[in-house]
């Protein structure tokens, strides 16, 4: 186990290092730079030079990279090129928002996908089948930004039930928080749910044909218990793999959702950073995301082991 943990950690570190290295160089390949972004349309060469010196962009790339690695190792993510804020503060501010958003997205997505997929897997169900296909198709066919805007129009403008945009931290009360996060979360959740509905349906349908499901039926268990206790844990490996995979999509979705709903979360910080060529911020966000993903990865593996005792952790499973 110790060996496994160590190996796992080393791998995680390698991944994180690769990620930040790739980002470091790739963002510098993108045309335009922080100077263009900060100084606007017209600026003097002196102004550019001064700014470059301030941002350390006048040094050779490899030196910049070395310094960056050194700083990152000491957990210093640097300051935003715009100045005034450290990337860490930006993230500290943004993380709870994105966390709330993706959490609701995850919950909504799973609450939508799994019961629907499970019901649809039982072929006799005349309602769940089409509904689940519907959710799957809508989720896969309508862009998140479009759904978001439609939701705002409906829930905020026409009905006036929920605030049109923004985020309220939990300290302002659970109701406030939920009110703000519900709509974007649902919007995100729907997109997240779509592939999950399909995979749940397909793998559950397969698991339902297994003899142990027949056996459970032969015992006289209720259909709901058969599903929850016998089929779900077995059918869930691909669902979890898929769910894990699509947490990536969840973040992509968050980029758009946060823009539409004006939530200053990690996704928007990243988009802003890219627009402004805010290298330290881009690097910081991607570092964060890669760490999160590495953790998600490990969690998914552990979840496999919890669900299915046959899974051996050594070597890991997807």
């Amino acid at each position: 186990m110790l060996l496994y943990c160590v190996k796992r950690l080393i791998h995680a570190a390698i991944v994180v290092w690769l990620v930040i290295t790739v980002v470091f160089f790739i963002v510098r390949l993108v045309p335009g730079g922080p100077v263009d972004a900060l100084l606007g349309a017209d600026y003097t060469p002196e102004a550019a030079r001064v700014l470059e010196r301030r941002l350390g962009l006048d040094q050779p790339l490899i030196v910049q990279y070395g310094e960056y690695l050194g700083r990152t190792l000491s957990l210093d993510l640097g300051d935003s090129v715009a100045g005034g804020t450290s990337v860490r503060d930006m993230l500290v501010e943004a993380i709870p928002r994105t966390l709330s958003l993706t959490l609701i997205g995850l919950v909504v997505g799973l609450l939508l996908a799994i019961p629907l997929g499970a019901r649809a897997a039982r072929r006799r169900n005349r309602i769940a089948g089409p509904v689940s296909s519907g959710v799957g198709l809508i989720g896969l066919s309508l862009p998140t930004f479009w759904l978001g805007m439609l939701l705002i129009l409906l829930m905020a403008v026409d009905l006036g039930w929920l605030p049109a945009y923004g985020y309220a931290p939990m300290e302002e009360g659970l109701g406030q928080w939920l009110g703000h996060i519900l709509m974007p979360g649902t919007c995100l959740g729907l997109a997240y749910a779509a592939p999950l509905v399909l995979i749940t349906r397909s793998s559950m349908a397969e698991a339902l044909r297994e003899p142990y499901a027949q056996m459970a039926r032969a015992k006289g268990l209720r259909e709901s218990v058969i599903m929850a206790k016998h089929v779900v844990p077995n059918a869930f490996i691909p669902v979890i793999t898929m769910a894990g995979i699509h947490t990536g999509g969840l973040l992509s979705g968050a980029v758009v959702t946060e823009t539409v709903f004006a939530i200053n979360g990690v996704g928007r910080v990243l988009v802003d950073a890219i627009t402004n060529r805010d290298y330290p911020a881009i690097q910081g966000v991607i570092l964060l995301i890669s760490v999160v993903f590495v953790v998600v990865n490990i969690l998914v593996d552990l979840l496999y082991a919890v669900l299915n005792p046959r899974i051996r952790l050594i070597g890991g499973t997807a």
């Binding site: 791998h11 690769l18 790739v22 896969l140 592939p195 590495v294």
Partner: protein
Amino acid sequence: MTTTATTRTSVRSRLLHDRLGLVSMAILLVLILAAVFGPMLSPYDPNSQEHDLLLPPSGAHLMGTDSLGRDVFSRVLNGTRVSVAVGIGVALIGGIVGTVLGLLAGFFRGWIDDVISRLVEVQWAFPELIAALVIVSILGNGFGNVILAISITYVDDFARLVRGETLRLRDSEFVTAARVIGMRKTPMLAREVLPNAFGPIIVQATSAVGAGILGEAALSFLGLGVAADTPTWGLILSDSRDFFHSAWWLAVFPGLCIMITVLGTNLFGRALQRSFGTSEAL
């Protein structure tokens, strides 16, 4: 795949006798025809702004006109080529590359797995949209680049999924049986492991088709789609967002087209799966 003539024909004939399979093939055929002949069939120039603004659907404009006075039907028809190509391209490129990587990693384990898994994780750490955005920014936009950019971002999804399935399958008895008959590893992967991982791959591919089309839309939304003057379903949909209340047709038709494409690929995948021997229809 070369098996005997009998099995090949039987897959084909089963596919041809599958009702939903036929429906799906009809959908895909229509889409392909629309993609190929769309520009010829389109009643108007898709970019011509000669019509009145925001006309609801009518005989002259089957899907109405948009806010610049363009014929939506012509745009949707012309958009088929790009959107279907992006969607299916992403599913195919991402699917093939990812599946191969996943198979190799899951099957051979060891250092191959380590290398592939690490690379896949690295790619996974970049949110798809962002990665596509950056790639397009570097390569410049345009049809090929957009397909490439979005496809690359989906490789990891397939790779992870297939690796998981491969791990699950590689120790199964029928794979051992294939070893016993002396099968080489490559055919073993292709014929024993892969077909059994088909279910999740199909689902993933289906969502990749949708995701590809929407990815292009999201890039358009951020201004980096195929091109500002090439109609795509995503672009049309993205343009529709200012007219929720006043012009439903702007969103409904491209949305329906995407849905039908996703549905078509999904059904086709499932039919294919059935024809390859999952016995029961859903």
